[in-house]
């Protein structure tokens, strides 16, 4: 079989894996803060954090180009001080995928933390646990199932990310050409046999993700 399909698959898994890892930390932190803390602008922050889920990927891609592009306000600083350029790199693809999939983790984590009875946390405090210990030994274990469900969805979403990734990372074979972009390119170029191979691989991977998600949640409950 075409080796470039496997390279695209490996790249897709790498990008989605990194994005999911980042989202696990970021989404969990944001979900916890919004579930437990009261502060002005909380609803606005929640809306802003959910925005990537409803905005068209092209809009996100454009925002990213404007921000982390070589002439963007953050991108120009990164380039001039650290020599880092994110556009057309797999790291850029990770940023796009992270952003797009973030709300899935954030929303799931927030709901999961809200379902944890605060009295249990208070009981732990009364018994002498510090805030970090309360989080890691009480809140997190009780919310974990819900967070995991969000994380798996986020992984699937990151794996299929297309629009923002194409705009930010381009389509460089072996470097930034993920499965979904490779499929698009093959169809555009009228290479149906390549497209068939890629579509088959993508479908198998997605079924595998769903099956393992189902198994994981069964094992947990």
């Amino acid at each position: 079989m075409d080796s470039s399909a496997w390279i695209a698959l490996a790249l897709s898994l790498k990008v989605a894996g990194c994005a999911t890892g980042l989202n696990l930390i970021l989404g969990m932190a944001a979900g916890f803060v919004l579930a437990r803390k009261r502060f002005p602008g909380r609803d606005l922050l929640d809306a802003a954090l959910t925005l990537p889920m409803v905005l068209p990927p092209t809009v996100l891609g454009y925002y990213l180009l404007v921000v982390i592009g070589k002439r963007g306000w953050l991108g120009s600083w990164l380039y001039e001080t650290l020599g880092i350029n994110l556009i057309f790199t797999w790291q850029g693809a990770v940023i796009a995928a992270t952003l797009v999939a973030f709300p899935l983790v954030h929303k799931a984590a927030r709901a999961a933390f809200e379902n944890v009875d605060p009295q249990l946390e208070n009981a732990a405090r009364v018994l002498g646990l510090g805030e970090w210990a309360v989080f890691f030994r009480v809140s997190l274990p009780m919310a974990w199932n819900g967070i995991l469900a969000g994380v798996l969805l986020a992984f699937a979403r990151a794996l299929g990310e297309f629009g923002a990734t194409l705009m930010v990372a381009g389509s460089i074979p072996g470097k930034t050409q993920t499965l979904s972009i490779a499929v698009y390119e093959a169809v555009q170029a009228g290479q149906d046999s390549t497209a068939n191979t890629l579509v088959l691989i993508t479908s198998i991977v997605c079924v595998a993700v769903l099956l393992s998600a189902g198994r994981l949640s069964k094992a947990r409950t």
């Binding site: 180009l65 592009g69 070589k70 002439r71 556009i87 057309f88 194409l166 381009g170 389509s171 460089i172 074979p173 979904s180 499929v183 698009y184 390119e185 169809v187 555009q188 170029a189 009228g190 290479q191 497209a195 579509v199």
Partner: protein, 246 residues
């Protein structure tokens, strides 16, 4: 993505009325055809021109899958040859209507001065935008020119592939790449943001062919559109956007 394509086809077919003329044109024709369409509509009251722009290969893929297109204007002969081989065109309707040139461009404030193709070896040139040769005529022309100059091996590791020539133009205009291959007419669209380093000789002249698509829903208007394209009035519009007469 197949689904995306079929949705696109559905949208095209649902939106098209009997008096609608659907023209699939190469991305490099965007500005010129957007100016041509209203002029044609003014001459043919009741006809509405629907324009569909993409890389020529993508347009061919749509037509091959049954998109209800009346006129197909490609940026190269090869794509229309392939359409002809698949018997997608009305026999004998093919005409050349414009000539273009391939140029190497840099961002307007680009630090690297490029005088010859060999300057692309320069380490300061980290990324070079060009259409994907497998799907974009401008990319094929560029690859051909680079292979002729024995520089493809130099450019390939630096290549950033675009899905159509206008995307390559955008990459250069944003300064995300140090150089890019586009048509002279594309560079003119972004005059304020890119500058032309030099134009390149291509093995085959860049002649744009147009043809009627077999089974197109509006054959009569399609014929009129191609006639208009080749008429002095149509050619004047194309010339305004930098295309030369065939």
């Amino acid at each position: 993505m197949k689904m995306l394509l079929s949705f696109a086809l559905m949208a095209v077919s649902l939106g098209a009325q009997s008096a609608d003329l659907t023209v699939s044109a190469a991305a490099s024709l965007t500005n010129a055809f957007k100016a041509l369409a209203p002029a044609f509509e003014a001459r043919n009251p009741g006809t509405r021109v629907l324009l569909n722009f993409a890389a020529s290969d993508a347009l061919l893929a749509q037509i091959a899958k049954g998109a209800p297109v009346d006129v197909f204007a490609s940026a190269d002969q090869e794509t229309l040859d392939r359409a002809q081989a698949q018997q997608l065109l009305v026999a004998g309707s093919r005409r050349d209507f414009a000539i273009n040139a391939l140029v190497l461009i840099t961002p307007i404030d680009g630090a690297v001065q490029l005088a010859t193709l060999a300057d692309l070896r320069h380490p300061e040139v980290k990324r070079i935008a060009l259409g994907k040769p497998e799907g974009v005529p401008a990319g094929r022309y560029a690859k051909g020119a680079l292979e002729a100059a024995k520089l493809w091996q130099v450019v390939e590791p630096k290549a950033v592939y675009a899905t159509n020539v206008r995307q390559a133009l955008d990459y250069v205009a944003r300064g995300e790449v140090e150089a890019g291959f586009v048509y002279a007419t594309d560079a003119a669209v972004q005059k304020g943001r890119v500058k032309v380093a030099f134009s390149l000789p291509t093995a085959v002249p860049i002649r744009y062919p147009v043809a009627l698509v077999a089974g197109g829903p509006n054959a009569e208007a399609a014929r009129k559109f191609v006639d208009y394209l080749l008429s002095p009035a149509g050619q004047a519009v194309l010339a305004k956007y930098g295309f030369q007469k065939p």
